[in-house]
């Protein structure tokens, strides 16, 4: 069966333990998470979780229903990839050497990345973009020697005036 990636936005009460409840549901029911991010929203009482996972329609529906059952989950929505801005942030540290420096700089420029730290032996690039762009940049950096890297996982928000809000927030 061909699985595709789904991205869902989840509005939750901003209370302690809520991340455990949401991530625990995935573990407990045997669903796999590609990535999960959580952060504040425009309303103090609520956080927003973005989860990406692979599955078919059936798995997607089961995940949505199980999330909706959690008391702290106020809103769940599958985000349409064609109508959603999806971004991820990458920080990547690569070896800095005279031989490779120029090639790295070129790649950084083409990808509209930024060098945010520079030392004689290492440099750190910052890159924002869709997952595929991040993946491509990492591939490009591999030959230069990746010392360490860190990516945030995706955040996603729908285009236009569609908003994922609970009645309480409105």
């Amino acid at each position: 069966m061909e699985y595709k990636q789904y991205v869902i936005g989840v509005i939750v009460s901003n209370v302690s333990g809520v991340l455990s409840r949401v991530s625990g549901m995935f573990t407990r029911r045997g669903f796999n998470i590609d990535c999960l991010t959580v952060g504040e929203t425009e309303s103090a009482g609520f956080s927003r979780i973005t989860v990406a996972f692979r599955g078919d329609n059936d798995i997607r529906d089961k995940i949505l229903k199980q999330l909706e059952k959690l008391h702290d989950v106020k809103e769940v929505e599958v985000l349409d990839p064609n109508d959603t801005v999806i971004r991820e942030l990458l920080l990547i540290k690569v070896h800095n050497s005279p031989a490779t420096r120029q090639d790295i700089m070129t790649a950084v420029e083409i990808f509209r990345s930024k060098i945010v730290d520079y030392s004689p032996s290492a440099l750190i690039c910052e890159l924002t973009g869709e997952t595929s762009k991040i993946d491509a940049f990492i591939e490009l950096m591999k030959p230069y020697g990746i010392m360490e890297m860190c990516r945030t996982g995706i955040v996603a928000i729908e285009r236009g005036d569609n908003c994922l809000k609970t009645m309480k927030q409105l």
Binding site: K62, Q66, K69
Partner: protein
């Protein structure tokens, strides 16, 4: 009025209509127990022998009445001892509020004495759980716990209260009424119309109902639906007691340990109307040749979870049926009814064959004789409770249940040791007699609660089907493991009559049906707890509709 957190807990429990709680004290709930002591004229605390017994008692209280059952335990081991009871309630959708003490907030996270993260431990087995670190939120959190426990598909909620929150003081204003559940979910009219079309077109409909009929109080509507559609009824284990056993349309429990006719009719039906069930793996609902399925349940997450339905409807079961029935024509399916009758005859033939092969075994009582004798003496209002194992399936198959909420069993989790606590809780809730069918294995896990039954003067008849083995597992070992009876032969020398007497109960032993009758007559006339130890042969097997005979 400004009162302590401990008093807020007690006042909120009383406000929520809670008259009886089950629990066991400890260092971190001593303040709460002090308030229970001071308010003992308004709220009755029943001390159990073990916290697990308290959790099962709260569960039994809830199952017997439909009200929220409450149990209280201290931090650490007190809290973890509740877990099996909470999980039992969770799997069977029973409204329970569990209150645990915890170490003071300043000591949380430091592996303090008797500290455990009970929130983390119970997250997967509760509908929701709370820790209250701010006394200002205490009363409303408890109210939320009751609201969540009894809303929609019921379930257990745990509230963890650190000791310093119990001793702090805050203003408390009692509410005039208990919290109301969240508004019901009503099925969509369009979906009900589509259901009606499918039902009107069906030639071999079969109604498969579960515990949702009991908790949704929809027995009357269920029977009306069966009459109008001329459909047989089969239940899950949890559905038992929703309709009287002798209802002509009722074929009994289906599934792997169900009645043959109920099971076979399900496999031959062209439409299964599944009501308040979750298609557990025990329902034997698998394979490629599934009939069309209409599934109605209050929990949206159960729809299409285990078995895909052709039409899945989320909604309150009583309301759904009430609105669905007028959309249906009056149906008669004479061929289907005739086929059902054939299946019933085949079932009778199979049971008679099994009986004749079995014959009489000297010094042992047949399980159906045990149930026959006991049920002939019990009243239809007595609450029938089981533990888990062969005796549970025999009781589920054969006991003549007549009224909803008179059959309490651990269906989903299958908790051995459930019965004693549940029986005590059910009897405390209703003032009626409880009859516990148990096995020597299960009873060994909970017989400490005889102490509670005796101290509470619980009218309770305990019927032990004592075969000296862990029969359900042994039965599997007989069939599938070359009779390697690994760890299922008990070889114990426990004298259950002496055990009963040592706890202050009465007891007797029966090796044949006449002895059993004499003892049972004494037991049902006795105003207290009476244990009957019945000798059962170790090779008695639970019949399965999946094969001819064992």
């Amino acid at each position: 009025m400004r009162i302590t957190g401990a008093k807020i807990v007690v006042e909120t429990l009383i406000e929520q209509g809670c008259e009886t709680v089950f629990g066991f004290p400890g260092g971190q709930v001593i303040d709460l127990f002090d308030e229970l002591y001071l308010s003992s004229d308004r709220i009755h605390h029943i001390l159990t022998a073990h916290e697990q017994g308290a959790a099962h008692a709260a569960d039994g209280f809830a199952r017997a009445t439909g009200k929220v059952g409450v149990c209280i335990a201290t931090s650490g081991p007190g809290a973890t001892n509740l877990v099996t009871g909470i999980a039992t309630a969770y799997l069977d959708s029973v409204p329970v509020v569990a209150i645990t003490g915890n170490v003071p907030c300043s000591l949380i996270g430091r592996d303090s004495f008797q500290e455990v993260d009970i929130l983390g431990v119970t997250m997967p087995v509760t509908k929701h759980n709370f820790i209250v670190k701010d006394i200002r939120e205490l009363a409303d959190t408890l109210r939320s716990a009751f609201k969540i426990a009894k809303s929609g598909r019921p379930g257990p909620v745990l509230v963890d209260i650190p000791k310093d929150v119990q001793t702090a003081e805050w203003d408390f204003e009692p509410r005039p009424d208990p919290v109301r559940p969240y508004p019901l979910t009503f099925a969509s009219e369009n979906k009900l119309r589509r259901a009606a079309e499918l039902i009107n077109a069906a030639e071999k409909p079969y109604i498969y109902f579960g515990g949702g009929i009991v908790s949704g109080k929809a027995s009357k509507e269920l029977l009306a639906l069966a009459d109008k559609t001329d459909a047989p009824l089969g239940s899950s284990l949890m559905g038992l007691s929703a309709v009287p056993y002798d209802c002509p349309r009722f074929l009994g429990m289906n599934g792997k340990h169900g009645h043959y006719a109920s099971f076979a009719a399900l496999t031959e039906a062209d439409l299964v109307i599944a009501l308040g069930v979750r298609f557990s793996d025990r329902s034997a609902f698998e394979g490629d040749n599934l009939p069309r399925i209409i599934h109605i349940d209050i929990d949206n997450a159960e729809l299409d979870k285990n078995v895909p339905a052709d039409l899945a409807i989320e909604g309150d079961i009583k309301d759904s049926l009430y609105r669905l029935i007028p959309m249906l024509g009056e149906h008669e399916h004479p061929e289907w009814s005739a086929r059902i009758e054939e299946l019933r005859n085949e079932e009778r033939r199979r049971y008679a064959l099994a009986d004749s092969r079995r014959g009489d075994i000297a010094g042992k009582i047949a399980p159906h004789d045990i149930i026959g004798v006991v049920s002939s003496l019990a009243s239809e209002d007595d609450i029938i409770v089981t533990d888990v194992g062969q005796h549970q399936m025999w009781t589920a198959q054969m006991y003549p249940l007549r009224k909803p909420r008179t059959f309490l069993t651990s269906g989903g989790l299958g908790t051995m040791g459930y019965g004693m606590g549940a029986a005590i809780g059910a009897s405390a809730a209703t003032g009626r007699r409880a009859v516990l069918f148990t096995g020597d294995g299960s009873f060994g896990m909970s017989l400490n609660e005889l102490a509670t039954a005796v101290s509470q003067k619980t009218p309770l008849v305990v019927v032990i089907m004592n075969n000296g083995v862990l029969g359900m597992v042994r039965q599997l070992q007989t069939r599938f493991y070359d009779k390697h009876y690994s760890a299922t032969t008990l070889a114990r020398q426990t004298d259950f009559v002496k055990v009963a007497e040592a706890f202050g109960a009465k007891g007797g032993r029966a090796a044949n049906a006449d002895e059993l009758r004499a003892l049972a007559e004494e037991a049902f006339a006795y105003d207290g707890t009476f244990v009957i130890d019945c000798a059962v042969d170790c090779d008695e097997a639970v019949q399965s509709p999946l094969r001819e005979t064992d």
